[in-house]
Symmetry: C2
Amino acid sequence: MKNMSILFLMMFGLAQAQSQSNPKVDDKLKSIYSTALLNGKSYSWLDHLSNQIGGRLSGSLNAQRAVDWGKAELDALGLDRVWLQPVMVPKWIRGTFEYAHIETSPGKTINVPICALGGSVATPLTGIKAEVIEVKGFEELNNLSRAEVEGKIVFFNRPMQADLINTFEAYSGCVDQRYSGAEQAANMGAVAVLVRSVNLRLDDYPHTGSMSYGLLPFKKRIPAAAISTNGAELLSSMISLNPNLRFYLKQNCKNLPDVQSYNVIGEIIGSEKPEEIMVVGGHLDSWDLGDGAHDDGAGVVQSMEVLRLFKEINYNPKRTLRVVLFMNEENGMRGATKYASVSKSKNENHVFALESDSGGFTPRGFSIDTSPEKLKTIQSWESYFEPYLIHLFVKGGSGADVGHLKTDANILAGLKPDSQRYFDYHHAENDTFDAINKRELELGSATMASLVFLVDYFSL
Amino acid sequence: MKNMSILFLMMFGLAQAQSQSNPKVDDKLKSIYSTALLNGKSYSWLDHLSNQIGGRLSGSLNAQRAVDWGKAELDALGLDRVWLQPVMVPKWIRGTFEYAHIETSPGKTINVPICALGGSVATPLTGIKAEVIEVKGFEELNNLSRAEVEGKIVFFNRPMQADLINTFEAYSGCVDQRYSGAEQAANMGAVAVLVRSVNLRLDDYPHTGSMSYGLLPFKKRIPAAAISTNGAELLSSMISLNPNLRFYLKQNCKNLPDVQSYNVIGEIIGSEKPEEIMVVGGHLDSWDLGDGAHDDGAGVVQSMEVLRLFKEINYNPKRTLRVVLFMNEENGMRGATKYASVSKSKNENHVFALESDSGGFTPRGFSIDTSPEKLKTIQSWESYFEPYLIHLFVKGGSGADVGHLKTDANILAGLKPDSQRYFDYHHAENDTFDAINKRELELGSATMASLVFLVDYFSL
């Protein structure tokens, strides 16, 4: 009886904990959401970053303009401290042309949209023309003989798996082709690689992204380009009609020496425990084809908005709240590693870090990387979020930038927006401001600010 | 002890019920979602309905073409029965012009985008020019004297409340201006009404929609038009600079006699309880400005897809599963009332009806109108939907069409997609196919099919 009573009480207590209610907390969250939706600044910030600055690849003039803009806007918020953290970043430039066609018979060609992958070497100025060998992945490639691959263009054409509900899982299942395809194909004697764009939609946008040659010596490196999904479908069906067709591409992208850049950082110093640091952040650099509105302009302005919302609702955090606009997430992660190493050298205590780098879509919740106990506490806050339709509090990775701050004791988290449309825009020319819905963006800011508030309020 | 044990067991049993798992059911849902995402037909159907037919206002040639198309597509599915249900519908036509400007001083004008509200009378051919009195709603209007209103254009300018998370609530808070504004203003001697578009975004699209003159005799009816949100903001600020500015509008819309139209109906006859009917449906008519892709082309093709998915996964429903493409939801509801009255006269037993009429966006769950017991049973199925991120099973209204089928015993439901973008497109020129995301649309079909499957499988 006693044991059962205890068990009963435990269950009852747990049920109570899960439906806990604290009107003061409810009010704060309501203020946060109302302020974000009625008087938010994230959308006009993103308008500027997308339309007045635009794509901002690490090392570019635009990246420097974004740094200057970020610093100026954080200065204008009246934070306690705003500074630039120097970091050397790689500089890769797309060059002045990228062009491709399918040659179905001598002199008969069909143009297809391609773009160089970030980090790729150029083709010779006159381009490369070769037969194409289509594969779905590395296993299929490695089952071929060297003779079957040598002198050819390897065409990686594994599509994203459309029946996965979380499109980031589908991304994970394909991105190896883009990242390591050139290295794998070069080792088999290929002259170039062509990779199906990592996009669930059939359309005409080639999607760029980072790639690596691994340990390949410079002279063995081969050009790597992405082809649009429509282009990939066309090429594949043309190959099935004529396996000996030839593909022509040229591009004059280039790797240059590293250049100076910066993480942009601002903070509100904690009123009670200033040495305990909470970070919110996104990455300031973007690919060069579009304006980087979703990736990751959205995360940048949402993170800045968290601090602005705290000021608007007059909440002074007990801990230090820091916004970090990381440089060079896309092709080097230099900003994140620099930030983490400086923090370590200063013995800083990051108790919490939250990243937004999954697009400015309707927020659904968070992916949380922490101890089971802390995860459970965060999950017990679910009812506070119910009015805002935030329902995902799942164990998982946080983000590429804040992931570097992992300790045994802290909490890392990533905002999880609805993922259905993300890869329509990701790393492509159409990642522009018009693809952003104001309310969806603002709900993301408010959701981030609410979690930061709860972590601070309950000193988790 | 005994009582406590029972209570304990009840709690434990409940917890078990809530996390119930049935691998056969899990597999069926997985088949439904995979088929919808990998091999769905809703998107290509909607492409045709939007781009080859387009806007299809009741009584128009396009509405008839949509009826013919719907019947042909249902015929092609190999259902047990497909038929047209005749219904007389109102016919209102927009006419050949609608035009407006603000006259800031004699001869100095600024054009603003307007559109006639559905059902409105025309202006005189030469238009109407008058001073404008701006109000936020009926209370403010009724506090004015007749002399302040007489001979003027009443401008209803209450915006949607942006801090409501569910945008349909914000819609409910504004739509009275559009629906009854003309009647109210005419009673005060106004010569026309201008209504702020029911849109949360600031843009240049006027949004049409239904309106009524109530019991006003024909000769007292005044023209009613919607003005874009940007136009409304401009007009309001111009009025604050010059309260005596004049507004000019003309439109030559017209009400014509009723014409013959049809609900389009198809069914799979139930294998065990054919007399128990489950309905899925959306409305086939749309407003005329756009293509009605979200409102309600999405609901039409998602409903058709439910039956197709059942065939694809080889599930024969125990009950009769009927798809109804309702005519005339937008401006008369004649299709729904006809369907309900015919059903009643035939003594049909509708055990379940599910409507999709909230846009083709990522589904979040359902609004459910039934007894508390049945609601609880549906809520106990939540875990089946977890892998698909479907989390809302809330008590609420079902839909304008299936709502007519309400009984004490049955279950009515409405699909609840993410609502943030819906009113960007609702009843406006930009409600077109390009505003539809294929995956979001398909997830909606699969979510509907899953609920229908569960209701049938568990004979709820």
